[in-house]
């Protein structure tokens, strides 16, 4: 008989969680409740006697100072009670640790049918609350219907003796696992199977797949292992391997690019090869610090003589759009497995985030699955739990609002790791499984979760997107595995390591088998969360927290002993071979037998038509604007813009100090509230060398030209790391493209050719920028299909496409962190300089967006000029010359002068007439044009000459002086345009989100 333990805070103690629920119910839905108390519930489904139950209640689950508990329902008063628990099969992490503690205290061992389940009930007081209110709070606030179930009780229907009853969310699948043979006599049959099974096979691939299974030699070889027609395991495998997510078919496609007006027509085969691989290899030849790029889970760059750092970035858009918290948590925890699975394995040293969502206060007619505000709350919280519980600092991140992200949000997650240059005498960046090496699956178990995640993210979000592809990551399990694998690495036990992310075993084993030349896998060896998974499900499941590791057979005993010490599950599921085949069996019976070579070749490239019409041809033009009269009010309005306003509430929830390596934090300045240009860490605690990381996006510019957008984000990211003290010549980048669907269709995607042209232009601009800056692309990923169909006012659906977005992450070496710089001016009397040219480039600016315009003259980055400035600035920083450095980004000089005032809490007295490049511009353009390539620097007059000597021939000018009284005074030709004190500026900047925690 299972037992149900209820635990709650002692009466009179504040229930912080319940209070949060009360506040959100009011804020989100206008539902006003009285006090909300939460009751935690543990359902122990194990044969424990009364004495044992009492022991675990008092010894483990009840804090005598703060809690009360009982195996009968607690008499917490309510008008309504909402119970929320997990659906069957969803990983219950607290349930698992509860079982562990019960074993510790009682010595009781949990058998297969035993478990502890956690759930909660919320007791709402409020006589006026209706059932509809409570259903809404349950459905939209307390529970997520994909992973959770709930029940609503009115006080009149509550049985105080029975409470919620006994709910056991155990998975029961009453059938034996089976392999299905899928005959596909014609291409049409395979297409039908693809649709029915949700394989998302590209129609172009279908003849090639069928042809393979009809080849004489293939048929003969298959016959020898008892196979004829393809099995579901094989088709699922091919589907995973061929998905756009894994194979990057779009970036490897053929682009027919035309500019009709200019008479340009060219064909580019593989944007990846042309715009990413080639420039990176060219830069790598010049820069020996670029250690390993373009093939592994993350890029590898030299940190110092004995360490490398690893970096990569990903997105987790589709899952986050469905289930914001779980999606983003799984995203950040998932990207952390990439450096872990790079070379022979890295220790994680930092994470970063980028959230792109609809406006938080959206009040229009479209009804996305989650309102942007709730979606944002969820993704913020997911990265909090995923990052903090992993023990990895989150020193940097960004948030961007645009209505286009209501179709599908973007959740960028970036990870940095560190590894010794050699492991047990071998280069750490290389890995290779040898025939005979064992295939070990480490970490979590396999369940139905995550099945078809890869193919779902390769499709446009709609109501039929399978909900099952959402998983909930478990940072605790992964942290244990991380510690275990590092110890195994240092003992030289690992020959190959990679993560189980998208595609699960099919992807990790498939990829590692290429190094040895084959693999033999016994699927029945893989530990399952519950019985009843079909073979194909085990093979492609995306259950989280798993790594696939190759080890030599003689290392097995030591490896397993280490796993036991770290309480990590590790299981041998097969061995690497040199057979050229991927051979999968289940209980001795072959269920897949495929030539590895088949998946590496033989597929037709995807083709795209691209048509570029210039902004002018598309009807974009510069608005005809006159001089504003109230520059003060204008600046305050700019500081309150959603994409400018303080976002302190997000970064404060993220641990940015763990690991003790923090040098430049997310918030800097006197009041520690102004965002730093980049995060800086010194990951080797005995060394003053550091690594800086920063991210940039500029989706607003894509409305004019995604090529200009791409060049601007690369420029910004480089300037950000240079501003804090990184060497621009030891800086690399990570490109994350998020694009709407680019395949033209007259009905469903009428502007597909334009979006495809935008992609080509962005890639070409990225290539040009990287070559001009000498910036290697250490890693990158693309995520296409950032579109959604949202119901409108009358039930009609609207396709909403995200603006073309490139997130660019820069990471650079800081030779000596003791010389790092922050944006805050430090002493009155210092000189204020602007570096770089301010041009007539207000197109796509925040100012235009505020006034409702797009404009046409978007900023044109000048990589050569930026590099020259960055190099000179870096020399100045290395000589300790500046007193503060800050880049000029979104919002232009106006916003960034204001942030500089806020950072130092000192005054700036600025003469706009001196701004280089802006001699002929009206003041509003000088302040709000968003030209690339600029910095604001303050310098002690005693060091001014030395500083200026480094900038000979480069555009810079002294704009004014730092003053004692904290205010921003801007004048031009003797006319004072604005003179506003810092408190007023700060209040405007914090008005929008300052109340959030």
């Amino acid at each position: 008989m299972p037992a149900r333990l209820e635990i709650t805070k002692q009466p009179g103690l504040r229930d912080a969680h319940g209070e949060g629920v009360r506040k959100k119910a009011l804020d989100y839905f206008g539902i006003a409740c009285g006090p909300v108390r939460t009751v935690q519930i543990l359902t122990l489904d194990a044969p424990l006697d009364k004495a044992a139950l009492e022991t675990v209640r008092t010894e483990i689950f009840t804090n005598p100072v703060t809690q009360i508990s009982s195996y009968s329902p607690l008499p917490v008063p309510f008008d309504w009670c909402v119970w929320v628990g997990l659906r069957p099969g969803v990983r219950d992490n607290p349930g698992a640790t509860a079982a562990e503690a019960v074993t510790d205290v009682l010595g009781f061992r949990f058998e297969k049918d035993h478990a502890v389940y956690t759930s909660a009930r919320y007791c709402f007081e409020g006589a006026n609350l209706s059932r509809e209110d409570m259903e809404r709070v349950a459905r939209e606030l307390l529970a997520n219907d994909i992973i959770q179930q709930w029940r609503v009780f009115h006080k009149d229907e509550w049985d105080p003796a029975k409470g919620i009853g006994l709910i056991i969310p155990k998975v029961r699948i009453n059938r034996a696992p089976s392999v299905t043979v899928v005959p596909v006599p014609t291409d049409g049959d395979l297409l039908r199977v693809s649709r029915e099974r949700g394989l998302e096979l590209n129609p172009n691939d279908i003849p090639a797949i069928r042809a393979y299974f009809l080849r004489e030699d293939v048929l003969e070889a298959r016959k020898a292992v008892g196979l004829e027609a393809p099995t579901d395991v094989e088709l699922e495998y091919i589907s995973q391997a061929r998905s756009d997510h894994c194979n990057h078919n779009t970036f490897r496609g053929v682009f027919h690019y035309k500019e009709p007006a200019a008479g340009v027509a060219q064909t580019i085969t593989s944007l990846f090869k042309t715009c990413i691989e080639e420039p990176t290899l060219a830069v790598q030849r010049q820069k020996p610090w670029v250690v390993s790029v373009l093939w592994d889970n993350a890029g590898v760059a030299r940190f110092d003589d004995s360490h490398y750092y690893t970096i990569t970035g990903e997105t987790h858009n589709s899952p986050s759009n469905m289930e914001a918290y779980g999606g983003s948590l799984t995203g950040i925890v998932g990207v952390y497995r990439d450096p872990m699975g790079t070379g022979l394995g890295s220790r994680l040293i930092a994470g970063a985030y980028g959230f792109c969502v609809g406006h938080r206060d959206y009040a229009g007619d479209l009804t996305p699955r989650l309102h942007p505000r709730r979606l944002l709350d969820g993704v913020v919280e997911g990265v909090k739990d995923g990052g903090n519980k992993s023990g990895i600092p989150t020193p940097h991140g960004l948030l961007w609002f645009d209505p286009g992200y209501m179709g599908k949000c973007l959740v960028f997650v970036t990870a940095l790791g560190l590894m010794p240059a050699t492991v047990a005498g071998k280069p750490s960046e290389l890995k290779s499984a040898a025939p005979g090496d064992l295939i070990v699956m480490c970490g979590g178990r396999v369940g139905k979760d995550g099945i078809h995640g890869v193919t779902a993210s390769s499709a446009i979000f709609s109501e039929s997107t399978p909900a099952g592809h959402v998983q909930i990551g478990d940072p605790y399990t992964q942290k244990k595995m991380h510690d275990f694998l590092l110890e195994a690495r240092d003992q030289g036990l690992i020959t190959y390591i990679t993560d189980n992310g998208g595609g699960g075993l099919s992807s990790s084993v498939g990829e590692s088998a290429r190094t040895s030349g084959g693999a033999f896998v016994e699927l029945d060896k893989a530990p399952l969360k519950y019985e009843g998974l079909d073979q194909w499900e085990i093979w492609v499941s995306e259950s989280q927290e798993r790594m696939t590791v190759g080890i030599r057979p003689e290392s097995l005993a030591v490896f397993m002993a280490l796993a036991q010490k770290h309480a990590v599950e590790a299981t041998v599921i097969g061995r690497y071979t040199d057979s050229g085949k991927l051979h999968i069996t289940h209980e001795g019976k072959t269920c897949a037998y495929i030539d590895l070579a088949f998946l590496e070749s033989e597929f037709p490239r995807w083709e795209f038509d691209c048509e570029w019409r210039t902004p002018q041809e598309r009807g974009l033009f510069e608005p005809v604007l006159g001089e504003p009269r109230d520059y003060g009010a204008l600046l305050l309005a700019m500081l309150d813009r959603p994409n400018i306003a303080s976002r302190e509430w997000i970064g404060r929830q993220y641990d940015h100090e763990v690991q003790g390596a923090s040098v430049i934090k997310p918030f800097v300045g006197v009041k520690r509230d102004v965002p730093g240009d980049a995060g800086v860490l010194r990951p080797v605690l005995t060394s003053d060398r550091g690594v800086a990381v920063a991210q940039a996006i500029a989706p607003a510019l894509s409305r004019i030209d995604a090529g200009l957008m791409a060049a601007v984000v690369v420029d910004e990211a480089l300037r950000r790391v240079t501003a804090v003290g990184a060497d621009p010549d030891e800086t690399g980048g990570v490109d994350n493209f998020c694009w709407p669907s680019i395949r033209y269709d007259p009905v469903s995607n009428p502007d597909g050719r334009h979006k495809a042209a935008q992609l080509v232009r962005a890639c070409l601009a990225l290539k040009d920028s990287c070559l001009a800056l000498g910036l290697p692309l250490l890693s990158g990923k693309d995520s296409m299909y950032v579109d959604g169909r949202l119901p409108g006012r009358f039930g009609e659906t609207h396709k909403v496409s995200a603006p073309e977005t490139l997130m660019f992450t820069a990471s650079g070496i800081v030779p000596d962190t003791r010389l790092c710089q922050t944006p805050d001016p430090k002493f009155a009397g210092d000189a204020l300089y602007v570096l770089g040219l301010t041009k007539d480039e207000p197109g796509g600016s925040e100012y235009y967006e505020m006034l409702g315009y797009t404009g046409a003259n978007a900023p044109v980055a000048d990589p050569a000029a930026t590099l020259a400035l960055c190099r000179a600035l870096h020399s100045a920083v290395c000589q300790g010359l500046p007193a503060s450095v800050h880049g000029v980004y979104r919002g232009g000089l106006g916003v960034h002068l204001a942030l500089t005032v806020l950072a130092g809490n000192l005054g700036l007295d600025v003469d706009l007439g001196r701004v280089p490049g802006a001699e002929r511009l009206p003041a509003w353009k000088t302040l709000y044009s968003e030209s690339a390539g600029r910095f604001l620097v303050t310098v002690d007059p005693a060091r001014e000459t030395a500083f200026l000597n480094l900038f000979r021939g480069l555009p810079l000018a002294r704009l004014g002086t730092v003053s004692e009284a904290p205010r921003l005074k801007v004048s031009k030709g003797g006319d004072v345009l604005l003179d506003t004190d810092a408190d007023t500026l700060r209040a405007a900047w914090k008005k929008r989100f300052g109340g959030l925690v």
Binding site: K9, L13, R14, A16, H17, G20, E59, I60, F61, N63, P64, V65, T66, P94, T97, A98, E100, A101, D104, V105, K384, K389, G391, I392, D474, P475, Y476, K479, K480, D483, K565, H566, G651, R652, Q653, D655, H656, E657, V658, Q659, G660, S662, V663, K665, V668, V670, R672, R682, L685, T817, R818, C820, Q821, T822, D824, K826, F827, G880, A883, V997
Partner: protein, 273 residues
Amino acid sequence: MGKPKVLVLCGYGLNCDNETAHAFTLAGAAPERVHINDLAGGKTALEDFAILAFGGGFSWGDDHGAGVIEAVRLKTTLGERLVRFIARGGLVIGICNGFQTLVNLGLLPGIHGDYTSRRVALTNNDCGNFRDDWVWLAPNPASPCVWTKGLGAFELPVRHGEGKFVCDPGVLETLKAGGQVALRYALEDGRPAGGKFPENPNGSMDDVAGICDSTGRVFGLMPHPEAYHHPVNHPDWTRQREAAVREGKPFPEGPAPGVRLLENAVRAAREAQ
């Protein structure tokens, strides 16, 4: 005389072990990172060490209350040996999750040799969320605490969601009377924060940031001394550097405050050797 040996626990989701060991090294000790299972399973003997450090992190994912399950594991495996370690003069520090573990083990408040009663708790922050911020801390000069002896007001980062110190008012009076409230959240001038947010970041009763046992050798605190082991860890360090440069002074002067706190214990351990 050798350097005092420090056992720094790791594993099961703890995540500050590397920098805790590093900060102890800077403080003149010989730290060793030991997996909880190696200590619990007997592979490593607690008795070989002078100082035991329960570091920060999310032990067992912080499910069922922060530090609860770590305390269960150590209580069921080490139990009495922990108490004997203290009785024989051993020093113990619990930082953040380690503090939460100490109060769940009952090693704190450790009033007059009672090392098994859970009489204080660290519960959810009043602000309702995890918070990373730097706070001013005022040590209690009247405290027997070995770790905070001689320190003036200083700053450290807090990074937690469950750091609000609560206990029965009577217990608090006993703690205050015995000088066991060793560390309080403070204003910049060193006066207690008086419950003011964010100076008192979690709503702790009486601004309690850290307490010690009656002997002063067992100390638990929510802020992280090991995260301020280098001058560049401080949020204002670039301004401190610039000021020093202009006055022609060296930057930095002396070890970081987090290290000074650990040095106190290392010195005490050395004297006891």
